[in-house]
């Protein structure tokens, strides 16, 4: 074995930024493991219950940046009860006690209390960056604590969180000495903010690059802010409503023209479409555009706007754009890599969703660099998917969602097996796939056969028998997360290869055919898995019959056994 002094090893490891590379390196030998663990500054924990804070601190005492994910993905769609878990407090508490020099905390789907934020703000003097995605449990009081105490705060990024507004003045809590902000995103906050305080904050933070406002910031305030921050790269407007004949609007137009560095635009939470032309001058250089929260912009206006955006790489939009609008995107945005088309009409049932397979085919033909897709559509056909697969072999993420979950091919009435089969066969680098529409076991045969790089698969209302699930479990060697709902997969599939689950992060099955007995068997055989059963509403029998179907099961590998914070309705078998 070659001899390298540890300092050299450490220096070499510095170049390894991806946590997967570092994980691999730490498996080589004991000395590498040791050097690596002392030098690791960024830790990623994909499931907060797979380990615990003590083990994190013991292994990585010099951690500075922690990423944690809590609830299972299907929690986004109301399939997981409110108090399931995913609390960040124990992590912050443990790190505070151990004197960890935490600088960055990134959380997704976790419960974050004001207490946790206060403890965070007061325990880590060098804290720089807080990113909360789809979290809940905190109020603007918690934000006030962060603003007041984190003297070197660079980033406060709140994405799609449910935050209680306490009508305090959290923004005013940034002291006058705070000049370090680089990124501030409070678009998800529902309440008023102190606009004057915001303007002053922006004025003194000369390094501010990213600013996303909430709906309470009116257009005339936006104008004043932009005058102070023409260096912005990323702007999320708040309200974009004003009298287009007014002086304020005129001033805004001029202010926007001077913002030559803006590459990413979002917001328009309330909009007067006649004010949109103000942003045309910055459209030419935009690489990212998110209009998915702006239902007030109709198709014709969207098209006019997009015609200016020739360099777009990422587009998030509502289906109000229509197939025709997608055609315009296809002919304008040749650099497009990521497209997300969200449904605009969620409650009327019938759905006036205006996109179909046509729009998708047009995009695939016009945008050869497309590699990431989320597409909610009224209907789909195999022919379209086959064409898309041929046009775009580079998909890494392909998520298709038909509004009617079991709708067949709109032309042939056949299942959509062949279409998705073409996608997995053509896209050799596919890592994430969501399927929908009428699907039999055949589609899973294809997935198992061809989707060699697949890491995450989402299945709903699909398949005919256990074979479907077995094809996937046997075939997809790199599978990390599998989530299934309302599909006829049962015990045979669940128990065929119990060892597989230790190679995966987690498995979710709800409204399937698995029974208590099988889940218990699995839990017994695999002590390093937590097999959780979620019982809600139904009578909680002391010991349900083994033959009873399980409504919701979530299992995940873990080094630390059953969690101690599980609520009453969650049983770890």
């Amino acid at each position: 074995m070659n001899y390298f002094p540890e300092e050299v090893l450490e220096h070499v490891f510095d170049f390894l930024t991806s946590h997967r590379d570092r994980n691999a390196v730490s498996l080589v030998c004991k000395s590498w493991y040791s050097v690596e663990r002392f030098s690791r500054e960024k830790v990623f924990i994909g499931n907060c219950y797979a380990v615990n804070p003590e083990r994190l601190i013991a292994r990585f005492p010099r951690v500075r940046s922690l990423t944690l994910k809590g609830k299972p993905h299907f929690a986004d769609f109301n399939l997981v009860p409110h108090d399931w878990g995913g609390y960040v407090y124990p992590w912050i508490e443990a790190m505070a006690k151990s004197g960890i020099n935490l600088e960055e905390l990134r959380l997704k789907r976790m419960v974050v209390s004001d207490e946790s934020l206060e403890l965070l703000a007061k325990s880590f003097p060098n804290f720089k960056s807080l990113v909360l995605v789809s979290c809940e449990g905190f109020t603007t009081d918690g934000l006030a604590a962060i603003a007041s105490n984190c003297r070197f705060l660079r980033e406060l990024d709140l994405q799609e969180n449910e935050v209680d507004d306490r009508k305090g003045q959290w923004l005013s809590c940034f002291p006058d000495t705070c000049t370090s902000l680089v990124s501030l995103n409070f678009a998800c906050l529902k309440g008023e903010v102190n606009v004057a305080a915001l303007e002053r904050l922006v004025a003194r933070c000369r390094n501010l690059r990213s600013l996303r406002l909430n709906h309470a910031v009116p257009l005339d305030a936006l104008q004043k802010i932009l005058v102070q921050a023409p260096q912005l790269n990323d702007l999320g407007t708040g309200s974009f409503l004003h009298d287009p004949d007014s002086e304020a609007y005129c001033k805004l137009k001029n202010a926007i023209k001077k913002c030559k560095s803006i590459r990413s635009l979002s917001g328009f939470l309330d909009v007067n479409t006649r004010c949109l032309p103000a942003v045309y001058p910055i459209c030419t250089n935009l690489t990212s555009l998110n209009l998915s929260y702006a239902p007030g912009i109709y198709s014709s206006e969207l098209i006019k706007l997009i015609c200016h955006c020739k360099k777009l790489e990422r587009l998030w939009i509502l289906d109000t754009i229509g197939d025709k609008g997608l055609g315009v995107v296809a002919s304008t945005c040749k650099e497009l890599q990521e497209l997300r088309v969200f449904p605009s009409d969620l409650y009327d049932g019938v759905g006036n969703a205006a996109v179909t397979e046509e729009g998708l085919v047009a995009i695939s033909a016009g945008c050869p660099k497309l590699n990431s897709l989320l597409y909610f559509c009224q209907q789909m056909t195999n022919a379209a998917l086959i064409t898309v697969a041929k046009n775009c072999p580079n998909f890494i993420r392909f998520r298709l969602c038909t509004l009617d979950p079991t709708i067949p091919d709109a032309v042939t009435n056949q299942p959509l097996d062949e279409g998705f089969g073409a996608i997995v066969q053509s896209c050799k680098g596919l890592k994430r796939l969501s399927v929908s529409g009428l699907l039999t076991d055949q589609v899973f045969l294809y997935i198992g056969m061809y989707a060699e790089q697949l890491e995450m698969l989402s299945i709903a209302f699909a398949g005919d028998s256990d074979k479907g699930m077995l094809y996937v479990l046997n075939g997809c060697k790199k599978l990390k997360k599998l989530e299934i709902r309302d599909s006829p997969f049962g015990n045979v599939a669940l128990l065929a290869d119990v060892g597989k689950y230790e190679t995966m992060r987690s498995l979710w099955m709800s409204s399937c055919e698995v029974t208590y007995g099988a889940c218990k068997t699995l839990a017994e055989k695999m002590p390093r898995l937590n097999v959780e059963i979620i019982n809600e509403g139904e009578q909680i029998e002391a010991s349900p019959d083994d033959r009873h179907r399980v409504e919701k099961m979530y299992l995940y590998r873990t080094l630390v056994g059953p969690r101690r914070d599980a609520p009453e309705f969650v049983w770890t078998l």
Partner: protein
């Protein structure tokens, strides 16, 4: 009506029965998984619900043509859209669809009117519309003197219940705070700054 009556036996009285539950749900509750004996969780639309259609069409039901799309809103968590996004979009859609209607009263008029503020792009358009709706002139706004020289002055009730003169605040602020409009006679409006 004949056709309907002859299908009385097909009338699914359950369809008009008062129950808790969304209209359209029948006994095969679509909320919970129906993966018990069906391969698909959604009950086959064509097989059931003849009664529902019977009332409306009066002819023999051709399920192929009358297939309603599955009531999507009733499947928990479908389409898979984050609740945050769902909540946000719904609020805005309602506003966009229903408009921002406010009552408009005029002193001396026997009944009130309603207008949709969201169709106007500014005070000028609004005042013009009011003038034409009530057949009067309002005159020009000035910060110092309100609507000097005109017989009428437009006022509005804001979120706090105070009576305010139209035109003082920026248009979008006005739109979000205006709860109702009141066209006051010049003589009554003298306290609001009209120099009559």
């Amino acid at each position: 009506m004949e056709g309907v009556m002859s299908h009385a036996s097909d009338l699914n009285l359950k369809a008009t029965e008062l129950r808790l539950g969304l209209p359209g749900t029948d006994e095969h509750d679509e909320f919970v998984s129906v993966a018990k004996n069906n391969k698909r969780a959604l009950p086959d639309q064509s097989a059931t619900d003849s009664g529902r259609k019977g009332i409306s069409s009066g002819k023999s039901i051709d399920h192929e043509h009358e297939h309603e799309p599955a009531p999507k809103a009733q499947i928990v968590g479908w389409p898979p859209v984050r609740s945050y996004r769902k909540n946000n979009l719904q609020a805005k859609k309602t506003e966009a669809e229903t408009g921002m209607y406010v009552k408009v009263s005029m002193d001396g008029a026997p009944y009130l009117r309603k207008i949709d503020l969201s169709v106007y792009n500014g005070y000028a358009e609004l005042l013009k519309a009011l003038e034409s709706m009530f057949k009067l002139t309002i005159g020009d706004y000035s910060e110092r003197e309100g609507y000097k020289g005109s017989e009428y002055a437009p006022a509005y009730e804001d979120k706090d219940g105070d009576l305010m003169l139209v035109g003082d605040v920026p248009w979008d602020m006005f739109m979000s705070s205006c709860k109702r409009l009141r066209i006051m006679k010049g003589s009554d409006a003298s306290g609001l700054g009209c120099g009559v």
